[in-house]
């Protein structure tokens, strides 16, 4: 992202940007994989302790989905912040500071999806 041509100034800014946690992308990758491992190991306990109507394959798929959402991110600082947020979620979930509904929030869509086809948009009153 920052390696675009004609960005000598940008390149300098990247070299001087203070790292959040990781200095290299290798470091960041390791953090991401460790977060994935930690969540993966915690899933069976989450299901048991929160008594959620979920199966382990469902939870694993959802975990993978949430990680795949950010697959395209390459900026190391952004990755660090995402990992930090994921870690916070994990700690809150593992310590039972959350409740069943917070865990189910990962699965239920609370936002009604915006219509994409023409008729849907028409009924919604939106301009095409």
């Amino acid at each position: 992202l920052m390696s675009s041509a004609g960005g000598t100034l940008i390149r300098q800014a990247v070299k001087e940007a203070k790292p959040v946690f990781s200095a290299t992308s290798e470091d960041a990758r390791r953090r991401v994989l460790n977060l994935y491992r930690a969540w993966f190991r915690q899933l069976p306990y989450i299901i048991r302790e929160y008594d959620v109507p979920l199966t382990l394959p469902m939870c694993r798929r959802k975990l993978r989905e949430n990680f795949e959402k950010y697959r395209q991110v390459n900026d190391i600082r952004v990755i660090d912040l995402l990992v930090a947020k994921g870690q916070m979620e994990l700690v809150e979930t593992a310590h039972m500071w959350k409740q069943k509904t917070h865990v189910m929030d990962y699965f239920k869509q609370t936002v009604t999806p915006k219509p994409t086809d023409f008729l849907g948009k028409f009924f919604d009153g939106k301009e095409p």
Partner: protein, 104 residues
Amino acid sequence: QHAIQRCSQWRCYASASSAGLSQDKITERVMTVIKLFEKISAEKLTIESHFMKELGLDSLDHVELLMAIEDEFGFEIPDQDAEKLNKPSDIIKYLCEKMEVDYK
């Protein structure tokens, strides 16, 4: 004359051979774990098949697979070692080294 009494109790730390581990047993267990992994098709799997290049796993799948192996053998594989285990033969070699089984 004093009879030298032989020690009747031996303190024995379980060695790999006493636990019944051999390279073949390790290979069998590793291949079973890998075959049970649903993202891998059993036909393409050989001992030398590369997880990412030939079997089409991505890095998160690789992590899941290594976790299954950790659960099977009961000890954690650290990150810097985990990065290098890209084929079943690598895993078998690594486990043999860790569990002090002769690797041929």
